[in-house]
Symmetry: C2
Subunit: 225 residues, 2 copies
């Protein structure tokens, strides 16, 4: 497993990105060595990013032997297909694959905007963000996770990878939003703690307080603190 | 190919849906027989739709032996994986698969909202919709299609299926928006005509004038005509 001699794997990423975290965890699960290239912040995009993702101009981008793969879930599927011998991420049965893709897509559609409102909005809009975020997390807990250890059942996989980056933002959402996700979704928090026991996860995710710190300084910059 | 004796395939759909058209074309390419169940319009959702897609409550839904698959691109991948012997829709190489998924995702993200503005908005917002739609179509033409007969090369596949439903809405976009897509994107229109020569496509898509007619009566209802 892991890299062949002639393989070059580069990840264009920015450390607090919940989407970048997906690729980091997937590569760690597959034991693929890669070069992490931190994209500079503050509006200036690197020439390499502009060349590798000219359409969206966004991280994360996986560059495998010079070929870019953009959009995080697509890159995770790519990683699963290329390094398929170890730690399968998607189930092999087509119906369960479709279910996994459905929930990963749900995470993409339902969490980012309300999560952001918990720390970037005020008054009614902020309250709306909290409410929407909790509703979506409850649906994930009830309909997708249930009493299973991981979303796909007994083994860590695609939906866990899709959600785990958001888990490292929960502290930021909760602290600025002044609410407790654990009080609303205890099984989801137990799932997050379970995932954090995996080295592929704990070594790929930043300390939640570091995310809180950059958001705190952002809020000071824009006059929200 | 096609259906086994004990297979039941049902499509919950609404005839003008560009997303439903994807499943119709994919099933036709695979020569899978299915029952088309038209979802009633006007806000009332059928009990079957609510049961089969309780999360999004949207068509299209593919029901295969009682199991629902929601979200059109996920359903097209499911169809490709279950009926894999005939007319492969996604390429077999992981990198080309990622490219196909990237462009299908681009279509999902970039066309619906501006397309809708061409017939549902007025003034500046309408002009903005036309401009954005043309820009996105030009990127598809230049970066994804190029001089190939189909998006994936010589054979009809996943990205063609992702886009073809929008092609049947072009007449509506152009007529209410008062512009010509062919003048801006001639290769894309040639691609659409090429696709329409396939029976799987021509038999799955409605007459563009029928779509125009329902949008015309919608516009009368809301006072835009």
């Amino acid at each position: 497993m892991g890299n062949e001699n002639d393989e070059e794997v580069i990840l264009l990423d920015y450390w607090p990105s919940m989407y970048g975290m997906r690729l980091r965890v997937a590569l760690a699960e597959k034991e693929v060595k890669y070069e992490f290239k931190e994209e500079p912040v503050g509006g200036v995009k690197s020439p390499l990013l502009l060349k590798m993702n000219p359409i969206h101009k966004k991280i994360p981008v996986l560059i495998h032997n010079g070929n870019p793969v953009c959009e995080s879930l697509i890159a995770v599927e790519y990683i699963d297909e290329v390094w398929k011998g170890k730690a399968p991420l998607l189930p092999s049965d087509p119906y369960y694959r479709a279910q996994a893709r459905f929930w990963a897509d749900y995470i993409d559609k339902k969490l980012y905007a309300p999560g952001r409102k918990t720390w970037d909005a005020k008054g009614e809009e902020k309250e709306e963000g909290k409410k929407e975020l909790i509703e979506s997390l409850k649906i994930l807990e009830l309909e997708a996770l249930g009493d299973k250890p991981y979303f796909g059942g007994q083994s860590f996989g695609f939906v866990d990878i899709a959600l785990i980056g958001f888990y490292s933002w929960f502290y930021t959402f909760e602290t600025f939003g002044n609410f407790s996700i654990e009080a609303e979704c205890p099984k989801l928090i137990a799932w997050g703690k379970r995932c954090m026991k995996r080295e592929s996860v704990s070594k790929s995710l930043p300390d939640p307080r570091k995310i809180y710190d950059i958001i705190l300084s952002y809020r000071k910059d824009v006059g929200l603190e």
